[in-house]
Subunit: 508 residues, 4 copies
Amino acid sequence: MPTSEFETAAPTGDTPTRDTRPPSRPAAHDGRPGLGAHDGASFVASLADDREVWVEGERVDVTTHPDFQPMLRTLAGLYDRQRSPELAREMTFPSEVSGHPISLSYLTPRTPEDLDRKWLNSRHWVEGSHGQISRVPDFMANVAVGLHDFRHALGEVDPAFAENAERYYLHCRENDLVLTHGLGDPQVDRSVTPVQRPELGLRVVHRNDSGIVVRGAKQIATLAPYAHDVLIYLSPANYLREDPAYVCWFSARLDTPGLRILCRRTYHGQAHTLGSRFDEQDAMLVFDDAFIPHDRVFLLDDAGTAVKGFHALNRWSLYTGQIRLHHRLRVMLGVASLLAKSIGVDRFREVGAMLGELASYVSVIDLALKSITQDATRTKSGLLAPGSTAALDSIAGQFSERASAIVRQIGASGLIMQPAEGDLRTPDLRTALDLYMGGRDTSVEDKSRMFRLAGDLVIDRFGMRQELYEAWNRGDPARVRSALYTTFTDLPGCEAAARVLADLLERP
Amino acid sequence: MPTSEFETAAPTGDTPTRDTRPPSRPAAHDGRPGLGAHDGASFVASLADDREVWVEGERVDVTTHPDFQPMLRTLAGLYDRQRSPELAREMTFPSEVSGHPISLSYLTPRTPEDLDRKWLNSRHWVEGSHGQISRVPDFMANVAVGLHDFRHALGEVDPAFAENAERYYLHCRENDLVLTHGLGDPQVDRSVTPVQRPELGLRVVHRNDSGIVVRGAKQIATLAPYAHDVLIYLSPANYLREDPAYVCWFSARLDTPGLRILCRRTYHGQAHTLGSRFDEQDAMLVFDDAFIPHDRVFLLDDAGTAVKGFHALNRWSLYTGQIRLHHRLRVMLGVASLLAKSIGVDRFREVGAMLGELASYVSVIDLALKSITQDATRTKSGLLAPGSTAALDSIAGQFSERASAIVRQIGASGLIMQPAEGDLRTPDLRTALDLYMGGRDTSVEDKSRMFRLAGDLVIDRFGMRQELYEAWNRGDPARVRSALYTTFTDLPGCEAAARVLADLLERP
Amino acid sequence: MPTSEFETAAPTGDTPTRDTRPPSRPAAHDGRPGLGAHDGASFVASLADDREVWVEGERVDVTTHPDFQPMLRTLAGLYDRQRSPELAREMTFPSEVSGHPISLSYLTPRTPEDLDRKWLNSRHWVEGSHGQISRVPDFMANVAVGLHDFRHALGEVDPAFAENAERYYLHCRENDLVLTHGLGDPQVDRSVTPVQRPELGLRVVHRNDSGIVVRGAKQIATLAPYAHDVLIYLSPANYLREDPAYVCWFSARLDTPGLRILCRRTYHGQAHTLGSRFDEQDAMLVFDDAFIPHDRVFLLDDAGTAVKGFHALNRWSLYTGQIRLHHRLRVMLGVASLLAKSIGVDRFREVGAMLGELASYVSVIDLALKSITQDATRTKSGLLAPGSTAALDSIAGQFSERASAIVRQIGASGLIMQPAEGDLRTPDLRTALDLYMGGRDTSVEDKSRMFRLAGDLVIDRFGMRQELYEAWNRGDPARVRSALYTTFTDLPGCEAAARVLADLLERP
Amino acid sequence: MPTSEFETAAPTGDTPTRDTRPPSRPAAHDGRPGLGAHDGASFVASLADDREVWVEGERVDVTTHPDFQPMLRTLAGLYDRQRSPELAREMTFPSEVSGHPISLSYLTPRTPEDLDRKWLNSRHWVEGSHGQISRVPDFMANVAVGLHDFRHALGEVDPAFAENAERYYLHCRENDLVLTHGLGDPQVDRSVTPVQRPELGLRVVHRNDSGIVVRGAKQIATLAPYAHDVLIYLSPANYLREDPAYVCWFSARLDTPGLRILCRRTYHGQAHTLGSRFDEQDAMLVFDDAFIPHDRVFLLDDAGTAVKGFHALNRWSLYTGQIRLHHRLRVMLGVASLLAKSIGVDRFREVGAMLGELASYVSVIDLALKSITQDATRTKSGLLAPGSTAALDSIAGQFSERASAIVRQIGASGLIMQPAEGDLRTPDLRTALDLYMGGRDTSVEDKSRMFRLAGDLVIDRFGMRQELYEAWNRGDPARVRSALYTTFTDLPGCEAAARVLADLLERP
């Protein structure tokens, strides 16, 4: 008899059945528990629930509100892609539970070949989304893999946590769930510590036999309106609080009563812009005494475990995030190169140097990623985890910012002064456009399209948000770098080398 | 009997009368020749003509097309402002021709007090437009002042040129004309010289007794849809062509038959954004065998005079451009400071340093501008011209780019995650917004508004275009800097100082 | 009857006489009190005293130790220069006390003409020293002017302080004293506040009727071995200590018993290097219970007055420091330009841009300095003080660092591979050197000399110390910038402009 | 009967014998042909020949001149190290020719294990020299490996070239030769092409049956005074000349008559500085009709083969150069970290960020190097060649420059104001030094030593030359980057990705 929201997903071999939980608690996704990897239609259908999504003061239904349709179509396309004959074999594998194909994003890698498959699947996701969706679902699926991997440590705090974590991972996997997270506190007053403003932190305000009640807000939950669940696990800035009430890891359906999703304005912009297709949204999640049933709670009170766990959960997702950065920079290099060629400046000394600089970033990340996956090590739970991406995480924003600046310098005023599609379709203007707005060995269509794409990437709000995201999504860049320094395993070796050399200078 | 388009503006003391030119040639502005400084209504009315403005493949009437209304209202407001009781005395002066008040932008300064009045007027223009309109009409009015000042040199080529220049200046002044210019060639293939692609350069293709016929395209004509005339005078990159047909200075009404104004897409964006109020537009001007009557021609064939003239024409406008930059950076500093305070980071060591860095740019420009106007020298025609802004022109893009980057670093994710006005007006959300999106000693309204303004300035297409404009509007930044080096009057002194020191090292 | 060390210098009209103080207290400079502006010989003679100067573990007499002779000769040359027929009139003025010519560095400016004379004198100092002596004596003389100017505020704490300050200023002026200062605490552990390590701060450990006894160390006392006195007044980092014992302003002769001057290694280097001529030295001053007579004490205990006074004392010296920076950057530009020309790269696009960038720095500082002196305001004591250099002080290190980097990029491997003078004098090598190491339109002598000078400036320890000095001598750069931000008088105006614009966005 | 200088090294199994070549041609190294890997004594002895080394106008014998002894001792130490019991097994292997141990630097890798051994040996060289010798002998030995590998292509031009290349490689290997190279033309006038100034290029001026006569100069030949031979092969800038006379690859003993070695001034500096131990020297090589026997000529006239060959020769040496950079940056990180800790700033937010930034460079290079060696591919001659380091070569100068700047910012004034060893040994000063110049948890000895080392690295001429070297040794940085762009194998993929995305925007 089902005792849990996740039971149908548990490795029991049972046929997936409809969720029978009482309506008084957060409902699982009706109708398709355990049906495996989504296609576009099933993904869209799965979002039809009672979630409270707000945008510009309006409560909206994301499955029907016009501003959300373009991104919804984009995501649906990606899910169709994973089930397409061409890619299904490289993006899914059969569930040992249900036999249904399930997403390779949820693969728990045990061999180098597993890792290769896993990263190939990640590559399909970022190539399918052209590097333009920061929180492509594959990202958080890998955090769920991390949760699964870390379950034994959670079990040392409370055996139920391990069990919950494992069942939740299976639930996500078997249902191809899209997750979001919310790591940061509201940006209200950084001059005071959370301890001084406790009401700003997400915390447990009530506990009873069936679960916990949480209150507070978290940001930035990218992709939240398009996700099924939010997974809450704390960033380093959080577990320093003195009160254990702040240490709580759990998942919540996004239609959980008391949970509100406050979106920023949409960037859908004009048709034919990147923003109109790839606006993944960012949101603040407000928990207003939301009830979280016990089987969705993975950790409480134990700050030490939370510290260790944060890095354990993120290790695969950070790797896939770098795959995305790599592809995004590849697109930037391609754009920069084609811009330069189309206006005949690619042979200019300083332009060639800038293009080479961008190529060096693309290439170095590629080389590093290969090493990191080859440095994979065995975790306690038996998975093969890639080496640390900490160095790349420290350098990502720097490379990305330079890439944007380079495209801006090469494109220059051409990023502003281009014909629109409407102009190109106007016969009366074509002679002038062909003559005055064409390029070297390039038609005016191809040239202007590439410049308009470049504009979307490096001067539009869509692209500039990506830039900010790149710099900040791994945390405050200064903090990320400090962390690399304090944890750098080669530091003692470096210091020893410095000491040996200094000592040498003393010998007469 | 009127012999010229500009006659009514000539210093004859005649009462301004309606233009009586035959309809077959470009018509002057109906109804208000010589009526002096515009107010908002007269400015808007003055744009009603047959100009061919294209945007997104559609030919539009800027006085009625919805996308152009916000900026039109903004400009009308600025013209109302110059005629307002509070500012009329500091922004206009009585015409010695008509007695009507005319814009101080057209003042030809002869005393330090004149310069002070002139710059105070410029300051009113940039403050009224919050530093957000790069090509505020005051800018090109100062180029017309330069044309007037340079008339004697033009007269040495042909006495009629001097006469035309002078009458045209008076025409502009007495009618408070808004000008645009178009300095650059189309960005088609920078690897070939214009000599190799002559069809891309603007050139005289026919001359007769009444005027010249021109063909070619020019960009970027900022503000073109809102201007009355375009003033064509050539940038240094142009007069290097071998064929004198490329040396042609003239003005043209924007409704000249054969002249088309091809606009980029509008940035009007969502309501409540800067783009919706301050989109000054950028355009390519296509001259398709446009006829220019002789009295609008100021120079032909003489490349040497064109070279000298370019700098003579720009000297006052470059100064007023720096006044604008100064104010724009002041706004940036104000925004950065208020952002930092509202989230409690202004006392953070690195944030304070960035704010101080921004303040140093604002302050240094201010100090330099004071010196430059005090270094004013007398021109051949008897005007008092400010010293060179070449050093500031070289450094402007660098300061501006850093200012944007600083606002971006301080604002960080707050530039993305803010409530919209609609959210703030929704009672159901206010409790959460007050608590989680407020700031230190700042209401959620004030904080979010300032962050949204910051977003418009540093991550929106509107603001990023401003950034590109700042870097490129004085020409290719590398060329601007090289020009400063080759013309720097202190260079021989610097080299001499280096030689003295090097020689010293040789003495035993 | 002389009651003070400074009496002979007091404005009594007395003929200067030999110091008659008892040998048990710090002796004044024997023999030439009140003899006015030094020439080279008198300057060198004046340094012959019992000062305890240590370098590399050796106690040395700077007037005879070989490593100190080159700089001593350089300084003597500068003093001969101020008394030279050509420059005496622009570098000295007759003392109203003694009738002797005294240095214009000590002029207390009351009119714009005074300021012009003062800055012309400063310019002679920095040009005579080629911008290579950071702490040219003119710098600290201007601090003494500040002390004089601030005497009334000191008098409000204790009338004797005002009297001491005034007499000391006259003593310095009439004797053409060279001062050093020591603002910083030892760099031992910046993670603790001085309050936690009180033994590291300079403090009063004993007071009696005749004076105070001080203990502690200060750095970096540039020029100390070549100076007569040290003037101690506290930097902002110092007066935050809780114990008033740390607030003490005084002067001390450098041969004060208990005061030791610990020099860093000399940079005299090989002959024909800048270091061999311009090594001004840097020192730590250790006060080991040094006795300071009352008439050399200018402030005790009052932290509030110390805070105000710090800026009052520095206002003229910071200005003269910027004159030096300006000239140093002029030398850098001259060197960069001559390097580029000698190897034929000055017309390269990116090199021209770098040279123009450097020129923009030189020019902007020049323009700002003119404004700042024109912004002069009247102080309480009636002097005319230049406006604040805070913006330039914030930007100086940034400009200077870029200047060095530019010279390095243009010089490249040429900074390494040059013939020495010995090579040039070797007939056997000349054919090869003329052919392979010459330059474009430049002899091998001129080219290699300029490259060697460039090397001294941008890759030698001498020049790199200058770079560090430029960045740090006004204090920690981050602190200097923060201070500009918090004191920027236009900040409220900037914030108001930002608010006006933000509010505008709200109006529908 | 020996027919060649190299015969004794040929794979004949003959016992090494004394060279019997007639004195009229360049003599091989007397006495120890084929004796295998040097120890210190044999290395020093091997330099005793008639080479013409000039420094500061003096012709010197490097084996006895005092300025050259410190570096000679350093090199001798490195050779003793390779023969030491601890390292001999990891730095040498037995010659199949002579049975003597020979340097692993000359290993021609055929398996991944070979590459591992090879790089381990490289690592021993750079660790033994603390990353401070740019042209550690291992570097050029790897170029000789490249020559061996490229012999077949040379043989297609002339079978003798292949034979010469192979025998020369064996000669180098069996005698453990130290090579230098000289790639660049004299820096005389970069505004003219070599074709316009043919006398500046190294060229063949005479050919006869026994060899060629060459004339011209090459720079920068680092390590030349300490090397046995120079290997001339042309950089890309050279083989563009029209006259085939400029295409000539050969080796020459450094005592070849007509070859002069013109050194820059030595950096030996004061004792206890890095310069006194690691001054590898830089030289111009002047060939004044030097005769090169045929068996030392590897290529003539064929520019196409020269182009291909340049990259083939450098592939292993560029890899080992990156191993050196990696270790040099490790030392920098160690120094920066220890500086920061010793003055208690390592926990400062911005310092931690800078240290993390430096760690990210160290780590990223390490990761990339691992990938590059794993990407090894088989060459035509059957060797295993590492993948391209082009991306690292493009980024090296950038990382290195930032590393220096970071050490400079952390060290600040502490890089200037430190006690010398002499001070530390002076009992009279110790109390003050212990108190005022110590550090946090660090003795004054340790702290000041580390700061002095830092000074040598980042403000001394020694360290700054390293910086220049890092930026320029792979060629003009702009050219290196351009080359990466034009040869980047992923560029078509990047452009395709950009096109796919641009096309997507067009679909309605």
